[in-house]
């Protein structure tokens, strides 16, 4: 098999760690008014204001985490895994564009539509990919 670039296997754990870390950071930030604290600084308006910086931090944590989970190698990375990976990616893109088109037509808030676009393909890819692997493992354990 051709050596395509994927992250090492341990990146799964790092990825899930970042995704999980994103949840308390977001909750803590919002609950303790972190946005307001940062906003009191010199750059309280414009591109890098408190809200924007907070959004960058939390989104980076989540997206980089999901990215690592999605594109880390499996324990045995063979051609079937590769095919499942490509197939899941195809379905993720289909769903993403379907949601994007429906949202563009029916929702006015375009900012949030693009935000949705940030994580829908990765989340759906991970769910679909894991589900197919789970089904493969289940059929293997049934037979043995």
């Amino acid at each position: 098999m051709k050596p395509y670039f994927l992250f090492p296997y341990w990146c799964h754990y790092l990825g899930w760690g970042l995704v999980l870390l994103h949840i308390p950071v977001t909750m803590f930030g919002k609950a303790h008014g972190m946005i307001n604290i940062i906003d009191n600084g010199p750059a309280s308006s414009g591109l890098f204001n408190g809200e924007h910086l907070f959004f960058i931090c939390t989104s980076l944590l989540m997206v980089s985490g999901l990215f690592l989970v999605a594109f880390a190698k499996e324990k045995v990375e063979d051609e079937q895994i590769w095919q499942i990976r490509l197939d899941s990616l195809r379905w993720a893109i289909y769903l993403n564009y379907l949601i994007l088109i429906i949202s563009l037509v029916f929702i006015e808030d375009t900012g949030h539509i693009l935000e949705l676009n940030l994580w829908v393909p990765l989340v759906f890819f991970v769910i679909r990919f894991r589900w197919v692997i789970f089904r493969l493992n289940r059929s293997l354990s049934r037979e043995s």
Partner: protein, 66 residues
């Protein structure tokens, strides 16, 4: 595409895991090929035939509609 990997494995007396290890794939892949859920690439098919020391056509056969 049909295959008789299961029969050939029984003749050679090797498990799915051992066959998988010899050709560098996962056990799930061998199981999927045996159950006709996955059609292997030419490279993988040749590797499998090589393990059993048989011609490719002896292991894999086309079905109607292929």
């Amino acid at each position: 595409m049909k295959n008789n990997i299961r029969v050939e494995r029984a003749i050679k007396n090797i498990t799915q895991g051992e066959l998988a290890e010899q050709i560098g794939v996962s056990r799930q892949t061998i199981n999927a090929i045996e159950s006709n859920k996955y059609v292997p690439s030419t490279i993988l098919a040749l590797k499998i035939a090589g393990v059993f020391g048989k011609q490719l056509e002896h292991i894999f056969t086309l079905e109607e509609g292929d």
